[in-house]
């Protein structure tokens, strides 16, 4: 029942987001004029309008799109003249790899640092680590990306400047992406550990004479990990949605980059489908996060 209710809301949310993006694009301007271009005559615009089905009422257009999307047909790209689903499918692995790389780097950095900060709560080390979080949040990601390209790509030549021929191409973008998730994950790990370390069961473990390492790693971490796992899923969602900036900076042919190209070139089927795709992934990830939370903490199941 819990799952059913959450799943229903997830579907409703996706539908709403898609409806909003559809309406926004259609209402922001005359699509036929945008497609036909600035030099088109009125005749050209009318031909375009008819060809792309833009003369039909808004609701009919939307309905048609939903029906075909549900059966996997996301339309044809204006700029590539290929099925949109094929285009997204080709780029999907890159965006996913990028997202997972970013998440992995974020987790591997944030969790140990968060634990250390919690153990040394209130000390200079703690302050220093938290300062890293604050600094990470303030950095514009595109500028950080460019700086890393100059330093590690050009000056040191450790990593490629752009493209993803080898796995090396994912390192710098992954690092930049991780910066967006590290502050939240670090803070959450730290506060979770601080609470866990102060609790009764830890006092019992200490009284039992267990070593520091066992206490921290086995007992406290297990309890502090609960919200972190869920937040990690949501952060992955944010990373995938926001991948457009990083992919553009590093010239990675992913879904985000496709979306940006489509916006610049007024390729509406692609824009619409990318929004649908990213929103669906985000909704699924938050659903996963809810499920993880409920599975790990039975108290949440009744909400």
């Amino acid at each position: 029942m819990f799952l059913a209710r959450r799943a229903l809301i997830a579907v409703l949310v996706t539908m709403t987001v898609v409806t909003i993006s559809f309406t926004l694009t259609r209402l922001s301007g005359d699509l036929a004029i945008a497609i036909a271009g600035p030099q088109a005559t009125q005749e050209d615009v009318d031909i375009v309008r008819k060809a792309y089905g833009l003369d039909k009422p808004l609701t009919v257009q939307f309905f048609n799109w939903v029906i075909s999307a549900a059966s996997g047909d996301l339309g044809k790209s204006y700029m590539y003249h290929e099925p949109v689903s094929k285009l997204i499918g080709a780029r999907l692995p890159i965006t996913l790899t990028l997202g997972l790389t970013g998440l992995t780097i974020a987790i591997l950095t944030a969790i140990p640092l968060g634990i250390i900060a919690a153990i040394r709560e209130g000390s200079l080390v703690d302050r220093g680590i938290m300062m890293i979080a604050v600094i990470g949040q303030a950095m514009p990601s595109f500028w950080l990306g460019l700086t890393l390209i100059i330093f590690f790509g050009l000056k040191l030549q450790w990593f490629p400047i752009s493209g993803v021929e080898t796995w090396h191409g994912f390192v710098l973008p992954g690092i930049v992406l991780s910066f967006s998730a590290i502050p939240a994950l670090m803070r959450l790990t730290r506060s979770g550990m601080v609470d866990a370390l102060a609790s009764d069961y830890i006092r019992t473990a200490r009284a039992k004479g267990l070593s520091r390492a066992t206490i921290v790693l086995k007992h406290a971490l297990r309890n502090a990990a609960m919200p972190v796992v869920a937040i990690a899923a949501v952060q992955l969602g944010f990373m995938l949605s926001g991948s457009i900036v990083i992919e553009t900076v590093f010239s990675l042919p992913g879904v985000g980059y496709l979306g940006w190209e489509a916006i610049i070139k007024n390729d509406f089927p692609v824009v619409q489908s990318v929004v649908l795709f990213l929103a669906t992934i985000f909704v699924l990830l938050t659903l996963l996060a809810d499920l993880l939370n409920a599975a790990l903490d039975p108290r949440l199941r009744t909400q």
């Binding site: 302050r127 500028w143 700086t147 949605s241 457009i244 610049i264």
Partner: protein
């Protein structure tokens, strides 16, 4: 061992940075040595005066069209701050209204508000913002409106949570008992008592708005050229960055420092006003 002085230091530093940028932005026409739009093709790509090849007339050098970088930087501060403040006001009004409604009335109203927030969070932010600006056309107003209509989620969440906490307290019950109208309770009892949380959210959202505008302008769909948005300056300088890295460092570091300052100030406000850490 607590170190309260470090917190005070960063809060003070942050406030100082924001105030300096604010004053510089306001006084821009009087303190900039050059017109930020004036080309000087004889004097292109001159490094900052403190670097090799620089000259004292252009403190931070000139860009690829010979425009004085220092002047553009100051005017850019204007744009960033303007967009930050305007966006926060717009998104604040939307988010606070939604959040307070949801938190106060509960039930169906709250369900609708929560659904709206979830939908907003699921929207791929940058993509949609880019699409809207791409369709309507880039201008300062469009960017502010788009960001304002998209960044209200944290306001809504915090307003909702704090309203729910406050509405059950004694002084609200007393106001009900005294026969005060719902409007009175909302505006005179609840809002003033959640305001300090919202002020902290406002500073954080302002920082976010500034970063987002920079990203939009960097991608070409934000503030239009030749306005000196820092994000746009970085985009325009990108092709020269391998030979003259300083050209993206100047606006980039400025962005970083401004956002950092705002965040520090927000943290300081949080401590000062006693807002919760979850905000």
């Amino acid at each position: 061992m607590k170190l309260p002085s470090v917190r005070h230091f960063t809060a003070g530093l942050g406030t100082a940075i924001v105030v300096v940028m604010l004053v510089a932005g306001i006084l821009a026409p009087w303190i900039t040595p050059y017109d930020p739009f004036a080309h000087d093709l004889e004097a292109r790509m001159i490094p900052p005066s403190f670097m090799e090849g620089g000259r004292p007339e252009n403190f931070l050098g000139t860009d690829q069209l010979g425009r004085d970088y220092f002047s553009r930087l100051i005017y850019g501060a204007r744009i960033s701050l303007l967009i930050g403040i305007a966006t926060v006001i717009t998104s604040g009004i939307i988010g606070i209204t939604l959040g307070v409604m949801g938190g106060f009335f509960g039930g169906r109203v709250d369900d609708v508000v929560m659904f709206a927030i979830t939908c907003r969070l699921s929207v791929p932010l940058i993509l949609v913002a880019l699409a809207v600006v791409g369709l309507i056309g880039s201008s300062l107003t469009v960017v502010v409106m788009t960001l304002g209509l998209l960044l209200w989620d944290r306001f809504a969440v915090v307003a909702r949570t704090t309203t729910m906490q406050v509405r059950n307290l004694d002084y609200v019950a007393a106001a009900w008992a005294a026969g005060c109208s719902r409007f009175h309770i909302l505006t005179r009892e609840i809002l003033p008592n959640i305001a300090h949380h919202l002020v902290v959210v406002a500073t954080l959202e302002m920082a976010l708005a500034i970063l987002l505008e920079a990203a939009l302008s960097f991608l070409g769909l934000g503030v239009p050229s030749p306005l000196p948005s820092w994000g746009l300056m970085i985009a325009e300088a990108k092709e020269y960055m391998f030979f003259s890295p300083w050209i993206i460092m100047v606006p980039g570091i400025s962005l970083f420092v401004l956002v950092l300052g705002i965040n520090f100030m927000g943290d300081g406000l949080r401590d000062l006003l006693g807002a919760t850490r979850d905000v």
